[in-house]
Amino acid sequence: VSRTPSSGRRGEPVAVHAYRVILALLPKPVRDRDGEEMASTFSAMWAADASLPARLGCLARSFGRMPGVVAAEWWDHWRHHRYHARGVRGYERGGVDMNAIVRGVRVGLRSLSRTPSFTCSTVLLLGLGVGAVTTIFTVADHLFLRPLPYPHADRLVRVQNGSHSFPSLRDFQSMPSVEAWVASSTEEVSLTGEGDPVRLLQARVTEDFFSFFGAGPDVGRLLLPEDFGAADVVVLSFGTWERLWGRDPRVVGRTIRIDGAPVLVAGVLDAAFTQPEVMVDGVAADLWRPVDRSHPMIEDRGWHTLAVAGRLAPEATIEDAARDAAVVAERRARDVPDQYTRRDGSIVELPIVSLQEATVGGAREGLNLLLGAVTLLLLVACANVAHLSMARGLARTRELAVRRALGAGTPALAGQLFTESLLVAAAGTLVGVGMASLGLRALLALSPQALPRAEAVTLDARVLLFAAALSALTALVFGLLPSLRVAGKGVLSALRSGGRGATGGRVASSLRAALVTGEVSLSLVLVFSAGLLLRSFAGLQDEPLGFRVEDVWTMPLGLTGEDEVGPWMERLERLREAVAETPGVRSAAYGLSIPLEHTGGNRCCWRTGVARPGEESDQPTYMHPVAGDWFDVFEPRVLAGRMWSREAARAEPSPALLNESLAVALFGSAEGAVDREVEAGGAGGFRVVGVVAEDRHYGADATHGWAMYIPMEAMPFVPGSAHLAVRVEGASDDAPERLREAVWSVEPDLPVPLVRSMEQWASVATAGTRFESILFTAFGAVALLLAAGGLYGTLLYVVGLERRDMGIRLALGAKRRSLEARVLARGLRPAMLGAVFGAAAAWGAGRLLQNRLFGVEADDPSTLALAVTVLLATAALASWLPARRAGAIDPIETLREE
C-alpha cells in the first residue's frame, strides 16, 4: 500500500514539519505504521481553523501531549515490541503490577501442587545437588577464601622448613620487609595438685604473640613484658579453664604446679580466640607461658624449637619477604656453615608462605577433589531436573495451548514457567541448605583431623546466598529452558491432536538421549573414582604393617624432671615392671616412639647418620631406642641374626638391629650385616646382631626408610617422652583402666592421658583414605542412583506416551518381545555411549587422584571394567522395568481408551 508521496511535504507549514520531526521520537514500528497518518491528521487540523486561538490550542495539544505518548509507546515497545511488530494480540496494560506478581506466584504454586511428584522430585534433586556442593563449598570457603581471624591476616607469613632456633629468630628480625616477628614452641607438661594429674599442652610464646594475633583476656590479664624475666606466670586457654576449673574466676591469681614448679595464673584467654594452628603442635594449647630466656640452650643454633610467624610491612609483598629470607639464608650459611649447609654443600633455605597457606594448604588438593566430585553430582542432578522439566513441559502442552487460545501471549506463558522455576528454586535452596547443614555435620564428624580450622566452619548468610544462586541458576537453566523449548513448540498441533500424542518430536527425544548419555558418563567418573579409592583403602587395610597390631595397647609417658638417662630409665623400668605384672599382660616394653604414632609426613623423633666405621653416611637413618620385651610385643619379622636379650642390652658395643634397606645399603644383604659393626652419629659404635624386615612405622602408605633399633641404654640424651606398649592375652576391654592403675601405683603424679590399642592407631593412620573413600563411595552411589532414576523415568515416560502406538502395533501383530527389545535398546544405546565417554573422562579423573592412591594404578583397567559393568547393569535394570511395562500393554484396552 503506497503512502502519501513525500513530494507533498515540500512547502508544508513549519508547524507540520516540526510535528513530523518530533514523530521521529516514537519507536520505529509505531512510526512506520501510523507516522504518516498522524502527520496528515495534524496537517488537516492545522489547516482547518486558521484563527490564532485554534492554532495555539492545536499546537499546545499536539506537542504538549507528545512526551507522554512517546514514553507510553516506548514502554509498550520495550515490554512487548515483538507483538507490536507482529501485530499479535498481547498484553495491553503496561507497568509493574504487584498484584500480577502475587497472582503469578499463586498460580505457580497451584500448578506445582497439581503435580506433586514432579515438584517433590525436582525439589529433592535440586536440594541434593545444591546441598552437596554447598557443603563442600562451605568448607572450601572457610579455609581458602576467608582471611584467618587475626589482625592484618593478609600480611601474616610463616617461615617454613620446620622449627627454628632463637639466634635464627634474631636473624629474621633483620629482614626489612617484615615489621614484626613472633615465635612459639610447644611442649607437654604435667599439671598436678588439681585432682588427677593431667598432661597438658603448653605453648611458650614471645613477647608480642597475643597482640600479634589479636587475642584478649577473658579474665585477668595476658602476658606483660615483665613476665618474661622469670617466666613463672601462665595464661590459661578458655577451654582448659572451663574443663579443669569450671570457669572459676578465683583461679586467677592462684599458684598452680606445672611439672612440679609453682606458676602464677595471670589470666584466661578470650573464648573467641582461635589459636593459630601452625604455631602450636597438636590440637590446642592448654597453657600459654612466656619463652624461658634463661634456658641453657637458648643461644644454641642447633636447638630448633620455635615456630615462627611474621607480619609484612604495609607495602611489602611475600616476594619481598622471600627475597629478604634468601639473603638471610645465604648470610647465615656463610657465617655458620656447619648448621646451615647440607652435606652436599647446598644451603638450608627459608621458604616464606602466607600463614593462611601454611595453615590450610595441605587440605587444598583433597578439597578440590571433593569439590569436583560434588560438582559432577550436581550435574547429574541437573540432568534429572532437565528430564523432569521436559516431561512436565510436554504433559502441559495442552494446558499451555488452551491458555494461549484464551489469549495468553508467549510472555505470559513464559512468565508463568519462570515463576514456577523460581518457586522450585526457592524450595530447592531450603532443602539444599538443610542438607548442607546435615552434610557439614557429618563431614566434620567423619574427619576432624583431616580438616584444618574445622571448628570455624559453619553455615552463614554468605553460604546461603551461594546456595540460593546455585539453585536458581540450576532451576532456570535446567528447568525453565527445557520446558520453554517444549512450550514454544507444537502448541497448535497439540490442540489439534487433542493433546494426545505429543512427544516433543525428534529434537526433544534426542535431547533426552543426550541427557542420559551425560548422566551415565558423569556417574561413571564418580563410580570409577570411588572404586579406585575403595581399592586403595582396602589395599591399605591389607598391607602388612610389619608389626603386631592385635592385643597391643600403648600409652605415652611423659617422665619429666630427669637430666640423666640412667635415673630416667630406672623410673621407666619400674613402670614397665609394674605394668608387666598386671594380670593379663604378657609382655611390656617401651621405646622413643611406637609404630604409627607419627603418620602423615610428620616423622619423629631421632635421625642421625649411620655408616660402616670410618665411612660417611649419605642419608639419615631413623633411630629407634627400645627397651623391655619390645620384640615380643611387636613381633617384627627377623630376616637374619636374632634379637638381643635383655641382658645383652648393656653389652659393649651395644647391640643393634638394622632394617632390611639399611642392611642392604651398608652391607649388600641382610645376612651380610650380621655381626658387623656400624657407627651412628652422636651415639657411637654398635654391633649388628640381626636384621628385621621393613615395616610401616610412619604410616601404612609410607615406607620406613633406613632404620636402626638400639637399646634404650645406648641413647645419648633424655627425651621429653617415651611410649609404653604392652601385649595382653585374653579379653582386653578393661585394659586401659588396669594399665592406668598399674602406672599410678608406681608414679601417682604421672598423667596417663591416652591409652590406645594398636588397632586404634592403625585406624587413625588410614583415616584420610577412609574419609575420602567413604565420601566418594557415597557420591558415586548417589550419582548411580540418579542416573538410573533418570533413565528409568525417561523410558517410563516414553512408554506412557507411546502406549497407544504400541497398542496398535500389538493389535497389528507385533511381537511383545520386539516391543520390549525396542524400549530396552532405547535405554541402553545412550547408556553405552555414555559409558564410552565416561570411560575416557574417568581415565582423566583417575590421574587427578594419582597421589592419593595406594597399591592401585590410576588407570587400573579392572576397576574401570568393574565400574562400567556396574553402570551398564544398572542401566539395563532401569531400562528393563519400563520395557516390561511396554510388553504388558493390552491392545484392546489402549484402543478403548481413545
Binding site: 516514537l26 497518518e37 488537516a44 499536539s62 494480540r89 494446558e399
Partner: protein
C-alpha cells in the same frame, strides 16, 4: 485435567465484555462517531470535537495510539478509502465487537443513570414539599 477456571490472568476474563467497561470518555466518543460510518483520522478528531461540544479534544499521536489498541482488540478495522482523490487516506470502521462494546457501555451508563435518577427525583420532591 486443566480447566480455564484455574487461570486467573485478565486475558481470560477479557472474554466477558463487561470486564472491558467502563470505557474512557474518549474511547466511548470514538466508538460512537465511528458507529455512524467509517472515518479517517482527521474526521474522527473533528467529529469527536463536535460531538463533545469541544469537551474532548484529540491530538494525532494519542488518537492513533487509541486507534491501534482498538484495532488490536478487534473493536474497529482499518479500511483503505479509494473513492476520494489520489492521496489514499486510511479510514477506520467499527466492527461487531466494537458495536457490542459500545452497546454494553451505553446500557451500563443507562442502568447507572436509572439507579441514580429516582434518587435525584425523590430528593427533588422532598425538597419541594
Amino acid at each position: 485435567m486443566y480447566t480455564s477456571s484455574d487461570y486467573e490472568s485478565p486475558d481470560v476474563y477479557a472474554m466477558d465484555i463487561n470486564d472491558l467497561l467502563p470505557l474512557a470518555p474518549r474511547d466511548l466518543l470514538i466508538l460512537s462517531v465511528l458507529s455512524q460510518g467509517p472515518l479517517h483520522g482527521y474526521g474522527i478528531v473533528r467529529a469527536v470535537t463536535e460531538r463533545s461540544d469541544s469537551g474532548v479534544l484529540l491530538d494525532p499521536a494519542n488518537l492513533y495510539r487509541v486507534l491501534r489498541r482498538m484495532t488490536r482488540d478487534g473493536w474497529i478495522v482499518e479500511t483503505e478509502d479509494e473513492s476520494e482523490d489520489a492521496a489514499r487516506r486510511r479510514t477506520y470502521a467499527i466492527t461487531r465487537t466494537g458495536q457490542s462494546v459500545l452497546r454494553a457501555e451505553v446500557s451500563r451508563l443507562e442502568r447507572l443513570l436509572g439507579t441514580v435518577r429516582p434518587a435525584l427525583a425523590n430528593g427533588g420532591r422532598r425538597r419541594s414539599k
